[in-house]
Symmetry: C6
Subunit: 197 residues, 6 copies
């Protein structure tokens, strides 16, 4: 995997944190909205658990933005959502990209850029709760190695932060999230608070 931080903030591109047998890695999620009819297209050799995460992320994103403004309803009717996780040949699976996928989709609908100096991990549920995931230590170390010094991790993983060597830990800004709205407020440039009318 490419271990370089993205050069600049972009719409529909979010830096996730993944965990492999060889340690943590940063992993981009890319979302493209293309004219269509509400379908979900996934590429990047996603396993069945991750494909289900993408479905959850799409339904949840829909709930969230439609609550912000009714005008977004039709975005879902007239677009397809293509989610790609480079590198395309490496199989990827597990539920921990849930918050990353949701953030990428919402960024692409609201047309708000995502900070490229932050990385995130966390399982998501259909009503937006952020569930704990494994490999927090390895994931944070990989962010650090890639030059990313701020992360968003699940509230329930707070205890895992202590396992990170102190000299690195104190250079990282940790955000603990219980709900997806907290994630969006931090990661999207401009936040989402003004969107709630």
């Amino acid at each position: 995997f490419d271990s370089k931080k993205n050069e600049k903030p972009d719409i529909g591109v979010v830096t996730g944190l993944a965990w492999t047998a060889y340690g943590g890695v940063i992993l981009d999620v890319e979302v493209a909205t293309i004219t269509g009819k509400g379908r979900l297209i996934t590429t990047g050799q996603l396993g069945d658990v991750m494909k289900e995460s993408a479905k959850i992320a799409l339904s949840l994103s829909r709930k969230i933005v439609e609550k912000m403004d009714k005008k977004y309803c039709e975005e879902f009717d007239k677009n397809d959502f293509h989610i790609h996780l480079p590198e395309g040949a490496v199989p990827k699976d597990g539920p921990s990209a849930g918050v990353t996928l949701t953030t990428a989709i919402i960024s692409s609908i609201l047309k708000k850029k995502v900070r490229n100096d932050i990385a995130m991990t966390g399982e998501i549920t259909l009503r937006g709760k952020v569930l704990p995931v494994g490999g927090i230590k390895e994931k944070v170390l990989s962010a650090y190695r890639s030059g990313i010094y701020e992360v968003i991790i699940p509230q329930s993983n707070e205890k895992d932060v202590e396992k990170i060597p102190e000299e690195i830990r104190r250079k990282i800004k940790f955000n603990f999230a219980k709900e997806i709205l907290e994630v969006l407020e931090i990661a999207l440039i401009g936040g989402v608070e003004n969107e709630n009318k």
Copy 2:
């Protein structure tokens, strides 16, 4: 699995009771209705028996609410029903979430909150009969451990309650159900009796 009781009553969220090789667990069912065309989307690594339970729950819910008021007919034409069972990576199967799934769907259509201080288990049939299930003792103990002191179980499982240690049994309120309408009357805040016109 997360063994904490939900913090507050919510629409489309029901606490189920499941049974694993390691004992009973509480298991949330989440339902989101999203603009669509009557499709059923299931996530959470459901096995084929549980996927069929979700289909039965959807058809049964449709029958029930359309009998309450014709206005609900169109709800099914213009919405998709997304059912998710966290945690997303843990495989789940069996018929015993039938009443839980049905209650969650009906809550989301009627926009009535479900009590968060009650848990339930039971197979459902297409005409709303509640059939007996296994693991009653283990399931009730898991509710107790999670701080939930009221349960709904199938009438035909009444005999299984005696296997629960008396000091716990007397702290639990047991509701025995033969029909899904009895379940809804207890679990939905405000009940469903007024809905029948």
Copy 3:
């Protein structure tokens, strides 16, 4: 399997007779018609032969009721037919539920109740012929044990009745059918003769 006779006659619910390695059992077929577009939904872990029986039952039912009255044509265009065989986790297969499935579908379209004091078995063909099936002795004994004293079986199985112990046999009323219309005339309350115009 639940071995109790249904409490009262109902629309879309028919008592079938099945045959397992452990002997005969009674087995309900439930049909729900829900607003849709003529699709067939089957649940209850049906094997591929039984799923095909359901397809045959649907096509045959269509032919029969459309011959009774042209008004039924549109019923098939605007409804889906959901067939469920409790208990949902027990795999079921074979062709011998053909007459039961057909009777349940036709009951649900004509809105005529099915007698709950009668049980039936028989393969069906697309033009309504009733073909012989196995396990007649075991099936009839299971009806008797469940308190059901009248059965419908294929004409070609008449010879198998002699294998049933005489003290039980003389307490049972046997109906032998060659065609599905004979089955409907007996099982549907009010019969179907008046329907033929």
Copy 4:
């Protein structure tokens, strides 16, 4: 398999000849046209070669009747074609039911009855050529045992007739066909010649 000749001529029902490890059998093909949109439904545990035969039979039937009269074009647009081969649980495969399937479909469209005192076998091609098949001797013997004394077999199988014992052979009327139109002229009551305008 049921080895009895059908009681009377019917629309959409044709007696085929099949060949199993236990010898020849007669095998009904049933076709029901139901309101729909040109789809093909097959039941009776057909293998993939026989399912393809049914597709060929449907396309060929379409070509033939549309050539007879343009009015038949819309029959294919507004109907589904359900083909069933009793007995429903016995797997069936191979290409030799091609002529039988085609004859049954065309009977059901033209609403012409098929002779019940004749049986047939033969592979069909998309342009209506009748190709040779195996087991002619066993098939003809099974027709004879079932009380059917006239058969249609492929022209290229003429040589196989000599293997049939003479005392039976001379009681059977053999029709040898090279093209499906020859089969239809013999098997459909009233023939098809007048249909060609």
Copy 5:
């Protein structure tokens, strides 16, 4: 396989040359256009490579005839294309029927007969290039045995012709093709040159 040359030229029927473990064979391709909506139906137990060849042949045919005359565009919208390769039970695979499939489809659209005294083989690409194939010697010998004395083979296979025994080779007329248009000009009665406006 039937090794006889077709009796007369026909629309949508082309003689191909195939190669098996037992030597070369001639193999008919049959195409029927039936009222529909642009779908491709294949029968004759085609393997996945040959099914892809049929898809390529359909797209290529479309490009070719639409270039000839815009009026053909709607042919593809209102017809299905059924391709069958008798004998229906024999599995067939490989890319070498590409030119044969394309020729059969174009014949059926232009309603031009195909010469029955010529046989062909060759892989096709999406832009109409003819690629070399194996088994040229065996294929040509099978054409000869079937009474066919003219063949079309890929230009790149010209060198393989020398392997054919001279006494047979000099009785055969060889056409070498680099592009599908050269094949069509030779095989379709009347050619296609006048079609290009």
Copy 6:
């Protein structure tokens, strides 16, 4: 595989570079746009990773050309995109045809020819980044052997160029790309700069 350079520049045809166990090969990508409804058809025995590359290429191409001119939006609604990789029977897989596929699709939409004297390789992401691939040395040698003296490879593969023997390396013109737009500017005759309005 055919190792000859294409004779002339063409629309929708791009020379890719692939890597097999036997060394590098040049590999054409052919794209045909046919009247349809935005579907993607792939042939040539593509593996699942390469099929995903084709999906990414289609979504990305859509984004790119719609940004150039809104008029291209409808091209995607009224056309199907058929992508073929000859030779049809050889399985192909991997992500490294991403830039080749995207270039071929965009060529076919813009109706701009692709240079036949250039070959390319590189994984593509959904937002158009060009990712590194393996086998650069073998791929460049195969281009050289086929008479192609200019290549486009990913920027991140620049270091691999040193492994190519110097006498060949100095005869090749190398273009290093980070983004797909750089690839298009070089490979499409006339470039794409004027397209950006």
